[in-house]
Every structure is written in C-alpha cells, then in structure tokens.
C-alpha cells in the first residue's frame, strides 16, 4: 500500500477530485496547508506598516492506494492540478505498512 500526498493550489482541488473519481478512486482526505517555495507570497499594508506573507495557501490531498496504482494516481493528480505556473505544488509517495477501516476493522486493500 502507498500513501500519495499532493500539495496543490486550492482552486485545483475540485479538478483533482474529479480526476481521481474518474479513475475509480472514491476516497481521500483533504486539509489546509500553507506553502513556501519559489512562488512568491504577497504584501499587506496596515497603517503604513508593510507585512510580507511568504506562505501561500495550498491544499493537501492524501490518497491511500494499492502499490500498483500509485504511479497512475500521481500522474492523474499532476495532470489535473497543473496550471504551468510556479507554485503548482508537489506530489510524493510513501510506503505504508498497513491500513485499517475503522468501521469494520478490515485491513489492506479491503479497507480502502
């Protein structure tokens, strides 16, 4: 089993979700994150005091998936989330020892 984690731009979430569903993947976990990287942040000014916010809003998507599907999932996410602009994000894959579905206690692929 693998865990695919993707950091993407927030407005691409919907597209990624659609792309994954198209591949028959119906589960994922999403959370808010902030990214720091090549993409520049922005500047805010309050009563003349200038603040640099160098963290940019991102969305983190996590998908548990069978080993053999991992690469395809990565490709699907990359295709869906790509805008070609700096800051599109990263996708990485981590090995997973075990997965359990809380509701039933099922393990492995059956738990997805």
């Amino acid at each position: 089993m693998k865990l695919v984690t993707a950091i993407v731009k927030p407005f691409k979430l919907e597209d990624v979700k659609v792309a994954l569903e198209a591949r028959g993947i119906h589960g994922m976990t999403v959370s808010e994150a902030s990214g720091f990287g090549r993409q520049r942040g922005h500047t805010e000014v309050y009563r003349g005091a200038e603040y640099t916010v160098d963290l940019v809003p991102k969305v983190r998507i996590e998908v548990l998936i069978d080993d053999e599907d991992a690469e395809a999932v990565v490709d699907a996410i990359v295709a869906a989330a790509q805008s070609g602009r700096i800051g599109d994000g990263k996708v990485w894959v981590i090995p997973v020892d075990s997965v359990t579905r809380v509701r039933t206690g099922e393990k492995g692929s059956a738990a997805l």
């Binding site: 407005f11 902030s34 942040g41 922005h42 500047t43 805010e44 000014v45 309050y46 009563r47 003349g48 005091a49 200038e50 603040y51 640099t52 916010v53 160098d54 963290l55």
Partner: protein, 440 residues
C-alpha cells in the same frame, strides 16, 4: 415659522439612524461575499459616504434642492451650505426645522443609494473606477432624480420635481433610492460581466452573523429613513414607523414560507433578505397605507423577491448580491402597491388607490414614477459604465479575482485567526512605509 425643537430632535435622530444604514449595508453585503472579498465589498459602501458627503457640500444639495424653478434639476451652483447656516433657526420651509437638518437628512439618502448598487458587482470591481463612478453617478443620476421625487418646490412651490408635481406618491424613496439603485445595479452587472467561476464555484456567504448584524442595523436605521421622512415627530411619522415594522415582519414571514415550501428549510439568509425586501417595499408606501395593508405589502414583497433572486440565473447576468431581485423588484412592488392600498383615511396628503375607490389613476401615476426612474437610471448607468470600462477599466484582472480582490486592490485580508493563542504563521513585518526606517 417658529422652530420646533421636537421635530428637529426627531429629524436629527433619524439622520443619525440613516447614516448608520450605510455601514449596516456594508456588513449585510460584506458578510455575503466570500472571505477574500469582504473588505472590498465594505469599502464600496464606506467610500460612498466619503465622496457623496463632500460633493453634497460643494454642489450636491444645490443640484437636488436648489431653487431653480426647473422640474428637472435644482440650481447649478454651489451648495451655499456655508451661507444657509447664518440664521441658526433658518427653516427648511414648510417644515419647522433648521434647513441644515433637512440637508443632512437628505444627504444620508444620497450616500446610501450608490452604496446599494455595489452589491451587483461584488468581487471584481476596480476600486478607483468605482470611486469615479460614484462621483459621476450621483451627479447625473441621483441628484436630478432626487429633485424629481423629493423637491416639492420649497417656500414658493415653484420648481417642484416633475414626479412630485405629478402626484406620484413616494414617501421615503422607493423610486429615487431603490428602483434607481436596482436599475443601476442591473446595468453595471451587465457592463462588468460574470465572476470567474459563476454558477460553478461555491460563492456562499462567508459570515452569516455579519449579514445579520447588517440586517439588524439596516432595520433600525430604516425607521429613521421612513419615519424621518415625515420631517417631524407627528402622527404621520408614527404611521410610517408602525408600517415599516409590520411590513418588514410580513416580508420575513413571506420569504421564509416560500423557502420552507420550495427548499424545505427556512434560512437565516432568507430572514435577513426578507427583512430588506420588506423594508424596500414599504419605503414609498409607509405613510400612505394602513398597517394591515403594510403587512400584506411586506408579505408579497418577501414572497416575490424570494423568487425574483433567481431571475439572474435565467437571464444570465451575475447580479452577485441580488440588487435587482431585492431593490429593483421590491421597489417596484412598493411603488405600485400604493396604487392599490393607498388611502386618504390614514393620510390627508395621500390619495386613494384601487381598493379605496380611487380607480386606476393613482396606479397609473405610480407606474409612471417607477418606470421613468427605472429607465433613466438604467440607460444612463449603462452608458456611463461602458465609458468607464473603456477608459479606466472597470474590472480587475482574472488572476487578481481568483487570488482575492481584498489583497490585490486593498493589500489587506479580512481575518487572521491564526494567532488565536500562541504564535502565528501569518508573515512578518517587513517595513514601514510611513517612515524611512526599516523595522528594527
């Protein structure tokens, strides 16, 4: 005429209440946008207070209420607000109140009308262009229309506005304020076009308590708007006050019942929207109908506006916060309703409508009032909007819209809850613009 302290007290209180409506509107609208554009939305209202008040001193009051002898517009000169104060008890004839009290009360109307328009073009309007738009729009649309409707000709009764002279009944501004703003809102929604992601992205209200704060302040201030329009503390004011309250209540009921039946749920946004729809509809009628009729008018306005907010999906214009569905439609309902429910029994200065044996005369006049203001405002605003769009540009660019107009137009974001307790991930102070020194 001797000054009446009682009437003056009420008009001053009412003026303060009406001023509060514009911030109230800012919150009502600001809560309805997405979190990334709430400040811009509110700024569109606040800047209206700034610009219109200044123009009022220079020439606005004069354009609207100056003694010109014309039924189309007041005098083309400076407002003399520096002079009319000479006599401290100088009265705004025929009312026993200082003329400055009348002038400031009317100023508040001029302030809120352009602010109302802003709801139709949320999330995407260049702030500088909006500011320029306000200045021109009040000059060529609001001030003349206010003259048409609210100028009864002063001391010598010459130069009354053409709608006022014709007997169109509009107690507190259903035409000059709401139909006017609604029609202008429609025009600008067409000029600016749809938001990125319209009918696809979630564009739900980001802060409904803020919407309700706005609605509450609007309701409160509207008593000043409507009952203050009696320009005195008397039975007419009390009638207008009662009608304002019960029509609004009726409209809340009307909107929520439609929602409950159609969608299965009565919503808080529906309650707030219904309240505003009712307030809009009763505005022209509040001193011309009996309280029972006010309830009926409110109920109808609530129910109809709850449905009218969907017109934009049918016709495909992005009137973002439903200025058309609420102010234009509500204003028309209110104006025409006088043609049905108007009665001299409650107000000797009113007229009898259809239900009181007045026939169609009054209804006809009301229709003329409503549609002439609608047409004038729509056409002029459309032209003005297109000119500004071609010259200054009226809309921010696509990337800025996606990133959020608060950031790109105002260099601010509305909220930072991250430092709730302990530290924060929200950036660092990088400089102070107001002084040469860099941060220590």
């Amino acid at each position: 005429m001797e000054l009446s302290a009682g009437d003056t007290a009420w008009v001053l209180s009412a003026s303060a209440m009406v001023l509060l409506m514009t911030p109230g509107l800012a919150f009502f609208y600001g809560g309805m946008t997405r979190a990334k554009s709430t400040l811009n939305m509110m700024m569109m209202s606040f800047i209206s207070i700034g610009i219109v008040s200044v123009l009022w001193v220079i020439y606005g009051y004069s354009f609207a209420f100056g003694d010109s002898g014309s039924k189309w517009i007041g005098a083309f000169d400076w407002s003399h607000l520096g002079e009319v104060v000479n006599d401290l008890t100088s009265n705004g004839a025929p009312y026993p109140i200082p003329v400055l009290a009348f002038a400031v009360f009317q100023l508040m109307f001029a302030v809120i009308t352009p602010a109302l328009i802003s709801g139709s073009i949320a999330d995407r309007t260049k702030f500088v262009t909006w500011s320029v738009f306000i200045a021109i729009w009040v000059t060529i649309v609001y001030f003349p229309v206010a003259h048409w409707v609210f100028d009864f000709g002063g001391k010598d009764a010459t130069g009354a506005g053409w709608l006022a002279a014709r007997g169109v009944l509009d107690f507190a501004g259903g035409t000059a304020v709401h139909i006017n703003a609604g029609a202008a809102g429609l025009a600008l929604a067409i000029v600016l076009g749809k938001r990125v992601g319209w009918r696809k992205d979630p564009m739900r209200p980001h802060n409904l308590p803020l919407v309700l704060i706005g609605a509450g302040l609007l309701w409160f201030g509207w008593f000043g708007f409507n009952a203050g329009s009696a320009l005195g503390a008397n039975g007419t004011a009390a009638l207008a006050f009662m009608n304002t309250q019960v029509a609004t209540a009726g409209a809340v009921a009307g909107w929520l019942i439609v929602e409950r039946i159609r969608d299965g749920h009565a919503t808080s946004l529906g309650a707030a929207s219904g309240a505003v729809a009712g307030l809009v509809a009763i505005t022209p009628a509040c001193a011309f109908v009996a309280p029972w009729a006010a309830v009926v008018i409110g109920f109808i306005a609530g129910a109809v506006c709850a449905t009218a907010v969907a017109l934009k999906y049918k016709f495909g214009y992005d009137d973002s916060l439903d200025v058309v569905g609420v102010h234009l439609v509500g204003g028309i309902i209110g104006c025409l309703s006088i043609g049905f429910f108007g009665t001299k029994a409650v107000n000797a200065f009113g007229a009898d409508g259809l239900l009181y044996g007045g026939g169609f005369t009054l209804l006809g006049k009301q229709a003329i009032g409503a549609f002439s203001v609608l047409a004038y405002s729509f056409v002029v605003t459309l032209i003005l909007g297109f000119i500004l769009d071609k010259t200054l540009g009226f809309r921010i660019d696509r990337d800025a819209e996606i990133e959020g107009i608060d950031l790109t137009e105002h260099a601010e974001t509305a909220y930072d809850f991250e430092g709730r307790s302990g530290g924060s991930i929200s950036g660092a102070l990088s400089g102070v613009r107001t002084t040469e020194g860099a941060p220590a």
